[in-house]
């Protein structure tokens, strides 16, 4: 028979079993059960959980980088220890950099550019990647992007000579003088690097040249006066002579170069400028003699050869044999060099040597299966020689299938149209040029000079007009 269970007082009842996170204790009078939370255990467990979770996540991340994407140099410790995570970023950046180089080699240019940009984004201090990206942009015909990328590196590698020299070189080569001045005068100093002092004559020369190219001859002269070292630097003589020339002191310009040449007869830059200024100032005999000496000292130097050909360019009497001899040797030496031939092509166009320009055009087709840019030089030479109807014919022929190439020299198209009485066509091109050069006054000045050189001052005046 079941008997009813006797009811015990609360103090004597059995307490529930203890948990790992808490237990019951009896205390008080009468004794009562009281639940006590084991905070230490809970916190330890939570900490262990968080730690395990973090390590799992970080390990997964490491696995993703190191195993899934096979990025070399990603260490587990670098992923886990947050202060070391920049090393992971660097490893990823280096990986992207290698990929970008491979893509560029494979001629997948767009992907190479994107990947190189990602490499620089991941590891902005990786100067090699930055220089590579800048080189890619230059090769792709985007010098402004190249300069932007390089200037972005000043924050990370301001003291690195490679970056400094590449910025200066790129800006000078691509005629981005405003950018050059900003970098030298503001951006490098902001990171404690002063390049425009007497200890860096190359950078001072770059600044001087930038000012000169931007048409600020007075500013260039003020700069040269403030830096006595520049006056003594033979390498500065051609630039300072140009300053003199721009300020109307033509004889002083020549005299300065003569002094520099006496001081350092081996300096090719000074020799070249000396011949040029002697020729410009009408000292033909001196120019001839100096050009011979320049070439004798530097028989394989393209600048010496081209300057000789320019100075002896009358190709009459005794000049003719000399000219042909040097021309043949120039061609034998440089027949495969598009850059050297382009210098001669430019000269042929500006001198109106249609035969030379046409030879170079034929040679280009033979060597590279491409008539450009020598077809444009040929058209230019016809314009300069006054054979405007022939120039018109050539320009028209080329425009049928090669309008994109001609667009890069539309100023010749303007001269051809103007010379053949199609003034409205010419003005339309001038209008386009004006728009195109609105933010590039250096280029506009260059084109204006070219119009003057080719005898189309009226077009130069049109271009100079503000609308």
């Amino acid at each position: 028979m079941n008997r009813p269970e006797a009811k015990l007082p609360a103090s004597q009842r059995a307490v529930p079993p203890a948990k790992w996170w808490g237990r019951y204790e009896t205390d008080g009078n009468p004794p009562r059960p009281r639940f006590v939370v084991r905070w230490g255990r809970i916190l330890s467990a939570a900490l262990a959980l968080v730690l395990t979770g973090y390590l799992s996540l970080m390990t997964a991340l490491w696995g993703y980088y190191a195993i899934d994407r096979r990025i070399p140099g990603v260490n587990w410790l670098d992923v886990v220890v947050l202060p070391r995570f920049s090393r992971v970023q660097n490893a990823i950046g280096s990986h992207y950099f290698e990929q970008a180089k491979d893509l560029w080699k494979a001629k997948d240019y767009v992907r190479a550019l994107f990947t190189a940009r990602a490499a620089v984004g991941k590891a902005p201090a990786n100067l090699d990647a930055r220089l590579f990206l800048a080189g890619c942009w230059r090769a792709a015909g985007r010098p402004e992007e190249a300069v932007r990328v390089l200037r972005g590196g000043i924050a990370y590698n301001a003291g690195d000579a490679r970056l400094q020299q590449t910025i200066v070189g790129t800006c000078l080569d691509t005629e981005r003088y405003q950018d050059l001045l900003k970098a030298l005068r503001e951006e490098f100093p902001a990171y404690g690097v002063t390049l425009l002092d007497a200890g860096h004559p190359a950078f001072q020369l770059a600044e001087l040249r930038a000012l000169l190219e931007m048409g600020d001859a007075a500013g260039a002269e003020a700069l040269a006066s403030a830096e006595p070292g520049l006056q003594e630097n033979p390498a500065a003589a051609p630039l300072l002579a140009q300053v003199d020339w721009d300020l109307g002191r033509h004889d002083a310009a020549f005299a300065r170069l003569a002094r520099a040449r006496e001081r350092d007869p081996a300096d090719a830059g000074v020799q070249d400028s000396y011949v040029e200024f002697a020729f410009r100032t009408g000292r033909t005999a001196e120019a001839h003699s100096a050009a011979r000496q320049f070439l004798d000292r530097n028989p394989t130097l393209v600048a010496a050869q081209v300057r000789f050909l320019e100075v002896f360019g009358s190709r009459k009497g005794s000049d003719l044999n000399l000219w042909v001899g040097v021309f043949m040797r120039f061609m034998a030496q440089n027949r495969h060099s598009a850059d050297a031939l382009a210098q001669l092509g430019t000269l042929a166009a500006s001198e109106g040597w249609t035969d030379v320009a046409y030879l170079l055009y034929q040679n280009s087709l033979e060597e590279r299966l491409n008539g450009f840019p020598f077809a444009i030089y040929y058209a230019g030479s016809l314009v300069k020689a006054g054979d405007l109807s022939a120039a018109d014919e050539v320009w028209h022929e080329l425009s049928i299938r090669n309008s994109a190439q001609l667009a890069s020299a539309s100023y010749i198209g303007a001269m051809v149209a103007w010379g053949n009485g199609r003034v409205s066509d010419a003005l339309q091109i001038v209008d386009q040029l004006r728009t195109e050069t609105a933010s590039d006054l250096h280029r506009r000045r260059t084109i204006e000079t070219l119009f003057h050189t080719f005898g189309f001052a009226a077009i130069a005046d049109e271009l100079a007009k503000q609308k």
Binding site: K107, D108, Y109, V110, A139, A140, G141, R142, R292, L295, D296, P299, T300, F308, N321, L322, V324, G325, V326, M328, R329, F330, M331, A332, Q333, R335, H336, A338, D355, Y358, L359, Y361, Q362, N363, L365, E366, E367, R368, L369, N370, G371, F372, A375, Y378, V394, E397, L398, I400, R401, N402, S403, A404, Q405, L406, A407, S408, S410, Q432, E436
Partner: protein, 443 residues
């Protein structure tokens, strides 16, 4: 087109080697393409295609490529400066993107239909006019197919007329007149087909051949040049060939890296020039061979217009397809095509002295729309006589008409230059100051 010009001119090079004379020496000058130009061109194509692909996700690759080309042409017409910026990769991405959007807005057919819609408007105009000729095409589908043939034939006859039509500049009267002539041609053709089934399949085969090897009429190049070498036994000959529409050709023969002979035909005068000799006119069989080689297009292209007869030699459906082309002057050749790719696999021609000379083509590679055979074998009497390998190709390189004309130089010419270089090279070989080491100003 180009597989055949390549082949014919190579044969001409052989002929001209005899004409010009002089031994050929094995030496190969690799072309050095302009790196930055190649980069710019590649970049232009890749950027454009990425943009177009994002705007036209459903379009096939061929349609994207076509749209990219159309866009570039369009840009060249409306803004050469922008086109130049694009070609050199200098165009701002946002600018490019917005221009592409505008272009697509102007061409709704591209966004609504993925492929070959660009030509619909003129195609529909033609198809509408063809409604008057129900005997030729009864249904819309047939009329559109016939309109395609009309466009192709118009391009063969006059590229500028086709451009006018495509740009909507051709007047209704002119179009009506051209369509009427075309309809009459089709009727005549149909009647011939009725009596000669061997010609019935030819237009379709030729269309397929053109599509596979040459691309759309408007995008075919106006000029081409290529370098190559020909091996015959232990002799190796280097050459460069330049060709321009409709029938201009110039061939350089190279020895030791220098041009030792040039032959040319400007459409009326055949000429030759060799080292140390003045230019002279060519005549007789050499001139005739050069003139024949000068034809820019393949013999199958425009055969009707020049009065040639083409008949299917092989049974229908047989492989390879064999076509006999009989020219108006009675000369004949047999061309074989691969039925899958429609690439030309061989060409046989009856020689003057009897017997067939055969050229076999392989190693096809795409150069833009062109499908070019880079290796060509010349067989005769059942044995391999020579093998020609093309090493470099370029299209529309800026060839001027003057380049093909009989040379007239006021001072010194190209062969004078080559002669001078040869002298300098010879002096270098004998220890005198070489080309690379000029000795000062002494001439």
């Amino acid at each position: 087109m180009e597989n055949l010009p390549t082949r014919l001119t190579v044969r001409t090079a052989l002929l001209c080697a005899l004409v010009v004379g002089g031994p050929w020496i094995a030496a190969r000058a690799e072309g050095t393409p302009d790196g930055s130009q190649a980069v710019g061109a590649q970049l232009q194509q890749q950027q454009l295609e990425r943009l177009l692909r994002s705007r036209l996700p459903a379009a096939p690759s061929s349609a994207i490529e076509g749209a990219a080309r159309d866009f570039t042409d369009h840009l060249r017409q409306v803004s050469p400066i922008a086109a130049e910026s694009l070609s050199t990769g200098r165009m701002d991405p946002d600018d490019l993107s917005s221009r592409v959007d505008v272009y697509l807005g102007d061409h709704p057919e591209l966004t609504s239909r993925p492929a070959t819609a660009a030509a619909d408007s003129p195609r529909l105009r033609v198809a509408k006019l063809l409604e008057k000729d129900p005997d030729l095409a009864a249904s819309d589908q047939e009329r559109r197919a016939l309109a395609d043939r009309f466009l192709g034939r118009l391009g063969e006859l006059s590229a500028s007329s086709l451009e006018n039509l495509m740009a909507g500049r051709m007047s209704d009267d002119e179009l009506q007149s051209r369509v009427s002539v075309f309809a009459e041609d089709c009727r005549a053709e149909k009647n011939r087909v009725a009596v000669d089934p061997a010609t019935a399949a030819v237009p379709g085969i030729v269309d397929s051949f053109e599509k596979a090897n040459l691309g759309p009429v408007t995008e075919r190049p106006d000029s081409i040049c290529f370098k190559g070498v020909e091996d015959e036994g232990d002799k190796r000959r280097e050459f460069v060939v330049f060709k321009k529409r409709p029938n201009k050709i110039r061939i350089h023969m190279i020895e030791n890296g220098l041009v030792i002979g040039v032959i040319g035909f400007d459409g009326s005068v055949a000429w030759r020039e060799a080292l140390g000799k003045p230019a002279a006119r060519l005549g007789g069989p050499a001139a005739a061979a050069l003139e024949e080689s000068a034809r820019f297009d393949d013999p199958l292209v425009g055969y009707r217009e020049r009065g040639a007869d083409v008949r299917l030699e092989s049974p229908t459906g047989a492989s390879p397809i064999s076509l006999r082309i009989t020219e108006a002057d009675g000369s004949a050749r047999i061309e074989t095509l691969d039925p899958t790719t429609f690439s030309e696999t061989s060409l046989r021609k009856l020689r003057a002295g009897g017997g067939w000379a055969e050229t076999r083509f392989r190693d096809y590679r795409k150069f833009g729309n062109l499908n070019l055979s880079y290796t060509q074998e010349n067989w005769s009497g059942g044995s391999l006589r020579s093998t020609t390998r093309i090493t470099d190709v370029n299209v529309d390189p800026g060839l001027l008409d003057r380049f093909f004309s009989y040379p007239r130089y006021p001072n010194f010419g190209f062969m004078d230059l080559m002669g001078g270089l040869a002298v300098i090279q010879a002096r270098g070989a004998h220890g005198a100051p070489s080309a690379g080491q000029p000795a000062g100003t002494a001439p």
